[in-house]
């Protein structure tokens, strides 16, 4: 399949409208930008949201997503399908976000301090958003991926390279910690 100016070619002329991971990988490896765009459309929304929660900045989140897709494009030739494509992409995204956080630390920017609700009158959504910042890294990641972005434990386990049971345990820890913070401030 070629990608040429002025020639309307449907995505995946030989593939269905919803290509499988394997088909997407194959097309991307051939340099098919339509497949790459499909990949972007499939994942970029959740990726931006996850990056936003990790970096607390929309523009940094967009930069991280852009960097992730560039890395995906460059490295897709070496991608082996012993893990899911989405799992691989999210792992790259999280590494990109941590790179940004490390750069911020190197530039002596103070990390954003966890802000707990000042009073119990805050709407739960705001209070929860602030409490998430006080979680440790692994709890925050699992909570954001499972509860906010709707990834499955099997996917999260793949991204973080831990057993599925560990992902469940970390989520439980995260929710316990959040419940504790939210009930204490509600008192």
């Amino acid at each position: 399949m070629t990608w040429e100016i002025g020639l309307p070619l449907p995505f995946g002329a030989t593939s269905p409208d919803n290509p499988t991971d394997a088909q997407l990988v194959e097309s991307c490896k051939r340099g098919d930008l339509r497949a790459f765009e499909h990949l972007y459309n499939l994942h970029s929304s959740k990726m931006k949201s996850l990056a936003y929660h990790l970096l607390s900045s929309r523009s940094d989140a967009e930069d991280a997503v852009q960097e992730t897709f560039l890395k995906v494009y460059k490295a897709i030739g070496a991608f082996h399908e012993n893990s899911a494509l989405s799992t691989w992409i999210y792992r790259i995204l999280i590494n990109c976000c941590y790179d940004v956080l490390r750069k911020r630390q190197r530039l002596a920017e103070k990390p954003m301090p966890p802000q707990l609700p000042a009073d119990s009158k805050l709407p739960l959504k705001v209070a929860l958003e602030r409490a998430i910042l006080a979680l440790n890294d692994r709890q925050r990641l699992v909570f954001l991926m499972f509860e906010v972005e709707g990834l499955k434990h099997s996917e999260i386990a793949g991204v973080l390279e831990v057993p599925e049971g560990t992902s469940r345990a970390w989520l439980f820890e995260a929710k316990l910690a959040l419940k504790k913070m939210l009930t204490e401030t509600a008192k």
Partner: protein, 207 residues
């Protein structure tokens, strides 16, 4: 089992204890409150998903990966650019050979745009660009529709590529504003963009 308040966390992790927990919270306000928060955490978390438009993200990505594509995929684009450049060069050569030479035209300046001409070109280009932007604004909703046909998807990619080529040519022009070849290339690209937008609007009207 006699369920007490300190059993709450264990019950939250173990669905088998859910019935005991439900019985307990009927008479215990503290645990009821904690259980309510536990269930609301998951419900509220879904509202934390952030959604916003990033219209420049994909074009930037496309521009960043485009030069890395294998040469065979770009032959048609390059052919068009070369053809446009060759046509502009041929026209310039023809003009130089057949237009009667005035004393001013005999100077080296004849190969380049003069300050005055450049101002005219820039003024016209700005007006032309504004009209194309307006056309693009009209075509945008058709392109963004989720049920875009393969033809529209193809047009969208063509536009992205043209925008990228326009950016590149403009960037080259910034370094050599008096280069008539580049100005001609840029005009060709704008013309192509205008025709594409027109085709999109015609296509949308016919459906």
């Amino acid at each position: 089992m006699i369920f007490e308040c300190h059993d709450l966390d264990r019950a939250l992790a173990d669905p088998a204890l859910l019935a005991e927990l439900q019985r307990h919270i009927r008479g215990c306000e503290t645990c009821r409150n904690q259980y309510r928060i536990w269930t609301e955490i998951s419900n509220t978390a879904k509202q934390l998903h952030q959604e916003w438009d990033s219209p420049n993200l994909w074009p930037h990505l496309l521009a960043a990966v485009r030069p890395e594509r294998p040469a065979s995929k770009r032959w048609y684009v390059e052919w068009k650019l070369w053809a446009a450049t060759a046509a502009a060069a041929a026209m310039l050569a023809f003009a130089l050979a057949y237009i009667p030479h005035s004393p001013a035209a005999r100077s080296n300046d004849q190969y380049f745009l003069t300050e005055q001409t450049l101002k005219e070109v820039e003024k016209n280009e700005a007006a032309y660009r504004r009209s194309i932007d307006e056309l693009a604004r009209l075509a945008q909703p058709k392109l963004e529709t989720t049920a875009a046909s393969p033809l529209l998807q193809s047009y969208r990619e063509k536009l992205l590529m043209l925008d990228s080529a326009i950016l590149e040519t403009r960037s080259n022009l910034d370094q050599n504003q008096f280069n008539a070849h580049l100005q001609s290339d840029l005009a060709d690209l704008y013309r192509e963009k205008r025709l594409t937008l027109k085709e999109i609007l015609t296509h949308a009207q016919s459906n």
